[in-house]
Symmetry: C2
Subunit: 228 residues, 2 copies
Amino acid sequence: MLSYTEENYLKALLKLSFQNEDKPEAGTNEMAAHLGVKPATATDMLKKLKEKELVNYKKYGKILLTESGKQQALAILRKHRLWETFLYEKLDFSWDEVHEVAEQLEHIQSAKLVDKLEEFLGFPEFDPHGDPIPKANGDLPVLEKILLSEVKEGELCQVVAVKDTSTVFLQYLEKLQITIGTPIKVLERIDFDGSMSIQISDQEARNVSMKFAESLFITLHQNICQQK
Amino acid sequence: MLSYTEENYLKALLKLSFQNEDKPEAGTNEMAAHLGVKPATATDMLKKLKEKELVNYKKYGKILLTESGKQQALAILRKHRLWETFLYEKLDFSWDEVHEVAEQLEHIQSAKLVDKLEEFLGFPEFDPHGDPIPKANGDLPVLEKILLSEVKEGELCQVVAVKDTSTVFLQYLEKLQITIGTPIKVLERIDFDGSMSIQISDQEARNVSMKFAESLFITLHQNICQQK
DNA sequence: TATAAAAGTTAGACTTACCTAACAAATGTT
DNA sequence: AACATTTGTTAGGTAAGTCTAACTTTTATA
């Protein structure tokens, strides 16, 4: 059984591995900063986690989760994101309030609690921030995101990310009242110039260019919580 | 802010004060036993709690919560019982599984969480064991229990306790499928001999004697969770 | 490539919550 | 009232997780 603190180190390591996609190793200072402790403290804990075979680590080297460590970290992340979903959907917390409380709730030890909570929430695959919730076996749901331009006529989809991050594009999105989670229905595709007629949320139908449709990532799954 | 451990000491003290109704003081050994630690450890913590003015305590004397300590202990008990209710009602935990997990959940720090949870549960006044849930201001709901014999015709009530604890009576209750939480409707009162016609849950109407009606405590509030 | 800067480690100390063993006070029993 | 038993305290020690200060290794750059 891991301590509250050990769990936090594993979780930090997992998060850092998501951040630095290509190379999932982390450094001592990086870890310490992430956890709000001094590097010396992180070194101590890393030795302990190595003893328990949760991380691969040697002096002055980079840190990497072992398979066992990764599974434990995923279990914590699973709890964190399920609780965030609970707070947001059932207790009416706002998007930005959920994290702090979930930081505490993620350490509650009870396999039954997690699984029942997941069931109660209807087996959500993504949390209120759009991040994937690990399954009980550690699998991470992948958001099958495609470009809006690839959606067939009549299909309903949901915005998940932007491909173009330029200010002009983001401002245009704001004007259209499009954020992560906004539902969009493709009404008609014009083959001539690649433009399309779409319905944003409950707004009136409107036309968007091919350039626009190729700048927006959407998903056909309706499993992202809409931002309030 | 209190530590996890300090909170447990306060809660133990509150529980002991409920147990020894007439005299709410506790002894060091009693406390230590309740918390699963050695008496020496309890002495240490008691000194610390005294420093924080949460308990009244002097060497070799009895221990008593101060008003401040009592309020904090009630806040923890409130969380504990709300979480028990949540686990039982929403996550389908059984009557005897809720306690262990609630022991952990009661330490989560978030005023908003507690109040939202209470609202989500519909402001329950009693937990799945029939114990009162302290209000946000520390008030303890009192179960207005009266004898079944005092209930007027046509009224619906709910079993909360037994006055007679003899085996024959308890066996009779079992035969009638009456447990804590069972709803009973008084259909007719017979003045002649004090007997009455009642409906137990969804069963057929049946007659019970005055002796029976004077042995069962019920409440007119419909706020006790029914045992499954 | 020599050296300065950055990154990481070690040693020693503190706090919290726990322990054991020895002692002191209060209580109960004849 | 004296003594035995129960109850509670003190002193000294341990483990976890943190710190600071001094040191070492790696890396980046002039």
